[in-house]
């Protein structure tokens, strides 16, 4: 099981802010996780196929798309940040 979090525009587009979910074997990095989420279709497909800029964090650290993750991790997806 991993915990997935969605923020800001992405949260609104997906209509959800978080979920706890078991991912299939083989879905072991951010890139594969995004591809798997995109298969849900609709907004998921639009958001996770890489057309819109998206950032990912694993356990609250920014990571690149090739970064792996493990069972129990907290994985967040969000648009480029716009604070300050």
């Amino acid at each position: 099981m991993v915990k997935l979090l969605y923020f800001a525009r992405l949260r609104e587009a997906l209509g959800t802010s978080e979920e706890e979910i078991a991912v299939p074997d083989g879905v072991t990095d951010i890139q594969r996780l995004m591809a798997w989420l995109a298969q849900r279709g609709g907004a998921w497909q639009e958001e996770f196929t890489g057309c819109r800029p998206l950032r990912a964090a694993v356990n609250q650290e920014l990571v690149g798309n090739t970064s792996g993750f493990h069972d129990g991790d907290e994985i967040a997806f969000f648009p480029p940040v716009t604070g300050g």
């Binding site: 979090l5 923020f7 800001a8 525009r9 800029p53 964090a57 609250q60 650290e61 920014l62 967040a76 969000f78 648009p79 480029p80 940040v81 716009t82 604070g83 300050g84």
Partner: protein, 151 residues
């Protein structure tokens, strides 16, 4: 020190606190960001700032740590607001104290540039034609890149 809060802050009081903390402090550089009443041609009646509780604080701490490692400064403070804000409200305060001005200025600007590109905050603006999420600006990436080129 890093604070993420709904409440407004007293920039003058924070600056004075850092200024007087050490008698060998010669320089204090500060930056305040506030909500403008217009953005990309549209009038802004207000905005909401969302963050990622836990990660946001960690990201800000990491940015401040980088600044401390890179420059010889005495202290650095970041306060960033979240929640509902209106034009002329303060959004962010960065204060850096040090012995001399050059390092205080650089560290203060570095913290702002990194905050703009690495700290998880998102702005949603309220305009006459509805709400909209603010897009990230490529000029912020450019501003950040300076710090890796000028090593």
């Amino acid at each position: 020190m890093v604070r993420v809060q709904l409440e407004d802050f007293d920039a003058g009081a924070e600056i004075t606190r850092l200024r007087l903390a050490r008698p060998d402090t010669g320089a204090v550089a500060a930056f305040i960001g506030q909500v403008r009443d217009l953005n990309e041609g549209a009038e802004i009646s207000g905005m909401t700032l969302e963050h990622y509780p836990g990660m946001t604080e960690k990201a800000l701490e990491a940015i401040v740590d980088q600044a401390r490692q890179r420059w010889n400064i005495f202290d650095a403070l970041v306060i960033h607001r979240i929640g509902a804000l209106k034009p002329l409200d303060q959004i962010v305060l960065v204060v850096v104290s040090g012995a001399h001005r050059g390092e205080a200025f650089s560290a203060c600007e570095f913290i702002m540039d990194y905050l703009k590109t690495e700290a998880p905050f998102w702005k949603k603006e309220r305009t006459e034609t509805g709400d909209r999420w603010v897009d990230a600006r490529s000029s912020d990436d450019t501003a950040k890149q300076r710090w890796t080129e000028n090593q």
